[in-house]
Symmetry: C2
Subunit: 293 residues, 2 copies
């Protein structure tokens, strides 16, 4: 049931990504590179979370679709730049050549820059029926959560932490910022659009934090126990880079216990909402923890 | 007189860049790298243009300072990424090591990303007394003019055009987008804040277009006739990269004629305003055309 829900939402997101990006034509390599980098069979977890909040409050999905796409563009740009030779130097992502392998390195840098830049004009130019006051708040949050005190900060400390054993505090900083902030972002933007109460905001933001953490722990586990065919990238790259991970700090058995407890917390924290309204949130938390890719 | 005016404004801009960027501390390499890349003795032409529009309409400079700084951050990020080994591979800028030479290549990619991202939160979080409706328009324009249909597009075609003779149309596309859009941007944002009439908007936007073109032609000329000590980078790099430029297409003498005529047009186009109010705009057009760096 969750699977068909996720597929339906993913298709809606993908359709809108295409609609927005198909408006771009020139320079061809940038326009094509942007589409290639975003339309890659991604799970669309971040944009789907925004749509789920809108549904929770019975709002039209149209209100959030441009912002949902914008967040996915930011996620995609971060992957394009992370994959570059100077950073992770990855040749494949989801079984496809990475953007710099396909289009060239200079091109990939500019394609990433273009995705990041364009995400803001999708929010301002494509959003209908959301007040300017809310849009300014949304844009501020996008910028803060994906910037130096958010995703980019996490990415920088992640790179600095390669080939050394780091403390649990540093690992938490990396997870909170590199992956966590961009999962919190769509949820908190949803609460801006829907004008959630303070209690609802706290519960939803905490839920996002917990599934973000679960997502990361599961990623660490998959890097050891995963299947190349399913995860679409080489297994064991964390070990090779001597990265500190949950399994390297706590061992595999304990990591799986922490994962389970994190998912359990995520399922509990939304109990201020009617049970039937949060069914998909519960299923999503489980899916994130027990996914195979 | 213009010189002391520009110095005063430059100091105001630099002070505000420091105030905003000093709020950032961690990760240290990103925070320091952002300051290093922006606080580099730049002319601050783009932010000053925004302040000049505010003065033209007798508005408080405070209204535009955050956006002026944001535009300078975007200009700076574009230079950080342009200088990377995969793009122009420059080691020096203004006589100082380029960002990747100083901080490393992965770091420079992320420092550039952080500057671009942070520019949007400076606009949303630091601006006072500008309506949300105007801010949304401003942010949309920033994104469009610096993105795939603006600065990044121009940069891409510029790279593609190295080592080949390109048409005058292609050269115009590069100039209009790579340099031109980011000079038009602060002027047009000024007209949003000041609620210019349609005629005033047209005149000011045309002025910006013409000084942007003059700036580029002068750059091409300086690359041949300039002085390393003054321009802070090696002379002749366009020739080395076999770039199409005004001098390569039209010869030096004709290029200087086109430069003069462009500046003359820029001075004329503002004649719908009171003469004493546009004095600095006239002087600035001349300065751009006859500068030595």
């Amino acid at each position: 049931m969750l699977k068909s829900y996720l597929r339906e939402k993913r298709e809606l997101i993908d359709k809108n990504i295409e609609i927005y990006l198909n408006k771009l034509e020139y320079p061809t390599v940038i326009a094509e590179g942007m589409k290639y980098s975003v339309l890659n069979g991604g799970k669309r977890l971040r944009p789907i979370l925004l749509l789920m909040i809108l549904e929770l409050y019975g709002k039209s999905l149209e209100l959030g679709l441009p912002t949902a796409v914008a967040i996915e563009l930011i996620h995609s740009y971060s992957l394009v730049h992370d994959d570059l030779p100077a950073l992770d130097n990855d040749e494949y992502r989801r079984g496809k050549l990475t953007t710099h392998k396909k289009f060239g390195e200079a091109e990939a840098i500019l394609i990433g820059d273009a995705l990041l830049t364009h995400s803001f004009s999708i929010v301002t130019d494509e959003t209908k029926d959301v007040s300017s006051d809310k849009l300014v708040k949304i844009i501020g949050k996008i910028s803060r959560y994906s910037g130096v005190n958010g995703m980019i900060g996490g990415q920088m400390i992640d790179i600095e932490s390669e080939k050394k054993l780091v403390s649990f505090d540093t690992l938490k900083y990396i997870h909170t910022n590199k992956t966590g902030k961009l999962i919190k972002l769509p949820v908190e933007i949803g609460t801006i659009i829907c004008e959630s109460s303070q209690d609802e905001f706290k519960a939803l933001s905490k839920y996002a934090e917990l599934i973000g953490l679960a997502f990361q722990i599961k990623d660490d586990i998959l890097d050891i126990e995963g299947d190349f065919e399913k995860i679409g990238k080489p297994v064991g790259s964390d070990v090779e880079l001597e990265k500190t991970t949950y399994p390297s700090l706590f061992g595999m058995e304990e990591s799986k216990k922490i994962l389970k407890s994190t998912i359990d917390q995520a399922k509990e924290v939304l109990n201020i909402f009617d049970k039937e309204k949060i069914e998909n949130f519960i299923l999503l938390a489980e899916y994130i923890g027990y996914r195979e890719n």
